[in-house]
């Protein structure tokens, strides 16, 4: 309900608006937002496993008897409670980048009338910015607000860092309800989402658990196999022409990616190379590289570590960006398009380099698209890492169960058994041949080796109804996911 143009308001309306922006009670704010059955509401995962808002709001909406809501979230994590709201008709449709755990199992069983739509971070931003997805009410968690409605995630108690994904919803949603823990006693010195985009502020006791922002996909890097893969990734990067002064890098948050950071840091110091920017989800390693002057800038869509929150708050070279700026395919200056290297993970990769980061071998929902397809498409060199098998399940397959990122955007695969280059990138192959430390193999050869070791697993093919639609970043349908037969 943005009302631009000062002559639209009578003075008494202006005074009334000022009085009513802050609520002590979520329920009142929801009433005020005039929510109705069938509306589209949105949430974000910047508190990751520490998010309290989504369940809180959905419980309230269920209590109020709302039905058929469309949920447009950035990701679903510890939200199995939503299962009941789906069964009771409160939630009618879900858009998300990721799904896992108990909620994933329920959805696989077919409890929803509409398939869940999976999009990438860039795809989501594009859909909202272009109006393809119209958000009626965006609920945005933040640690602090001021009296005017400016908010951020770096001040106050339960801090989370960047609100990069929420910025898009704040800009385009009809109504924005910011839910915060603290109201500052003076205007905020740091503004993440400005007051012009915030309609209501609700103050509650606890908005999220800061100590859980580092959980989830961030695992400790003590696994020697992962470290050996990380080492190979670093060798690959330093052997390529794009590794030079002014280069840019996104490494993400998987355990292999974390290992890559420390190897790359050493190479950069030894070879006296200074990069331009780091992009995406930000960890403590990234912050250290910025502090050491190895990069000019961090562009942060999501913050994964307390040190990174501290950096975002204090370092002007560490900048929060929204998801359109990060990765929208409809934004020609999206930062992913300026990336030299991106290091990505995969649940499965097939002989055509197509990647699945969404469904496990047993058909369960087990991950999130995140910025996978966006960065793969944008970066000059996209590197996918995966152990060649996990447990007894090969990660390299003849055909991925679910295509999330098309193979033509994937350039290099790094496994512990060798490095495979997409045949379309002979230029990269030629550059890598000069480094004898890189164990180059054709992808079929790695596949054969793994199958020899693990045998070929029987495929789990669900034959129930379609429970998931996978959108490519431009909104086109790239794959569908079938549920269990009931």
């Amino acid at each position: 309900m943005h009302n631009y143009g000062y002559n639209l308001f009578q003075k008494k309306d202006i005074l009334k608006n000022q009085e009513s922006i802050i609520f002590k009670n979520l329920s009142e704010a929801i009433e005020r937002s005039e929510i109705k059955d069938g509306m589209t509401i949105s949430f974000h995962h910047h508190y990751r496993d520490g998010d309290l808002l989504l369940n809180m709001v959905m419980d309230l909406l269920a209590e109020k008897g709302l039905k058929d809501l469309i949920l447009v979230v950035t990701s679903l994590r510890n939200h199995h409670k939503l299962g009941n709201h789906i069964k009771n008709g409160v939630i009618n449709k879900i858009y998300t980048t990721g799904l896992r755990g108990k909620l994933g199992k329920l959805i696989k069983k077919g409890i929803m009338d509409h398939p869940v739509v999976f999009y990438s971070h860039g795809g989501r931003a594009a859909a909202i910015a272009s109006g393809r997805i119209k958000v009626d009410i965006a609920f945005i968690a933040a640690s602090i607000a001021d009296q005017f409605g400016n908010i951020n995630g770096v001040l106050g108690k339960s801090i989370c860092g960047s609100l990069g994904y929420a910025k898009v919803d704040a800009t385009y949603a009809k109504t924005v309800i910011a839910v915060v823990e603290k109201i500052a006693s003076r205007p905020l010195e740091i503004v993440s989402i400005p007051q012009k985009h915030v309609d209501y502020i609700v103050q509650i006791d606890k908005i999220g658990e800061s100590n859980k922002i580092a959980t989830g996909s961030l695992r400790q890097q003590s696994n020697t196999r992962d470290l050996s893969i990380a080492r190979q990734v670093a060798e690959v990067i330093i052997s390529l022409e794009n590794f030079k002064d002014g280069y840019s890098l996104q490494t993400g948050s998987g355990s292999i990616s974390l290992g890559v950071n420390s190897f790359i840091e050493n190479f950069m110091i030894n070879k006296k190379i200074k990069g331009n920017f780091l992009l995406g989800g930000v960890t403590a390693d990234h912050v250290n590289m910025l502090k050491k002057g190895l990069f000019n800038k961090i562009y942060d869509t999501q913050t994964f570590h307390p040190d990174a929150i501290e950096s975002l708050k204090n370092n002007v070279h560490h900048q929060e960006i929204d998801a359109v700026t990060y990765a929208s395919p409809f934004n020609k200056r999206a930062l992913v398009n300026y990336l030299d290297f991106v290091v990505l993970s995969a649940l499965e990769i097939d002989l055509n380099f197509n990647v699945n980061v969404l469904t496990a071998a047993n058909g369960d929902f087990y991950g999130a698209i995140g910025g996978h397809s966006d960065t793969a498409a944008g970066a000059k060199v996209s590197i996918v890492t995966a152990p060649s098998y996990r447990g007894r399940i090969p990660s390299i397959t003849e055909q991925v169960k679910t295509i999330v990122t098309p193979g033509h955007t994937i350039d290099i695969l790094v496994t512990e058994r060798g490095v495979a280059v997409n045949p379309a990138r002979k230029d990269l192959l030629d550059q890598l041949k000069t480094n004898s430390k890189i164990n180059l193999k054709k992808i079929n050869r790695i596949y054969d080796e793994v199958i020899e070791l693990t045998g070929k697993p029987e495929e789990v093919n669900h034959t129930g109804k379609v429970v998931g639609l996978v959108e490519y970043r431009d909104g086109s349908l790239i794959d569908v996911i079938y549920g269990e037969e009931l």
Partner: protein, 293 residues
Amino acid sequence: MNNKLRRSMLYIPANNPAMIQDAFIYGADTILFDLEDSIAISEKDAARELLIEALNSLNFNNTEIAVRINSLDSKFGLKDLKSIVPIGPDIIRIPKIETKEQIIKIDKLITKLERKANLQPGFIEIMAMIETAKGVLNLEKIVASSERLSALTLGAEDLTTDMGIKRTSLGRELFLTRSKIALVAAAYKINAIDTVFSDFNDLNGLKKETLQSKELGFTGKAVIHPRQVDIVNHVFTPSQEEIEDAKEIVRQASQAEEFGKGVIAVKGKMVDLPILNRAKEIINKYEKREVIK
């Protein structure tokens, strides 16, 4: 006798399936499966069985495979040898060698087992572990006693125990032994592999000790953790500059030969035959491989 590229030998306990199947991914020149000290008495049979299965069925990407068997004085040693030889590992590491008679006996035994398994006699090399004062004194006779013997290695813990002394961080107590092993190995053109550096969290300490080993004349070092492989390989690998110099020496020498010149000088230093041979060896061993499998 030969002198292969054996910079790092990664110990892998033979009773750990996960470690066995991933053993080759860390870039060690040799994987050293252990049936001896890292395996509890109660696990000896299980480890041997597992290793036989693994070596028969897994692909280690052409990495050299070594197996450390139990001492032939123990009740497991002979059984180990009899089960391991037929699989044809590249090299068998034999602990507690102190006389040439032991080597001669083992050589005969392996030859017999090789014939039985239809392997070319002499196919399997042996690596003698020197772990007693007596072994150190007999080094040369030991090495001269078998064509199979292609590497010497030091068992530092047992040696210091045998001598009634303690290991120190400076390593002076092992100086003579290390020097002697390197010297004898060089004389017979076989590998000298140094003992492990046990604190795998101390990578700086590892680097320091490995540099010292290299100075003394060792050609490689055993490692107990994948993290140690890179550092050891790095220390025992000539720098790109050294490789380029070697190429230049070989190039100029072959030109000199063509034009009937005798001694040449490269970068202001005289190049005689030993230097030329050293240059050829470096190129042989370390020049970039550009192979796609």
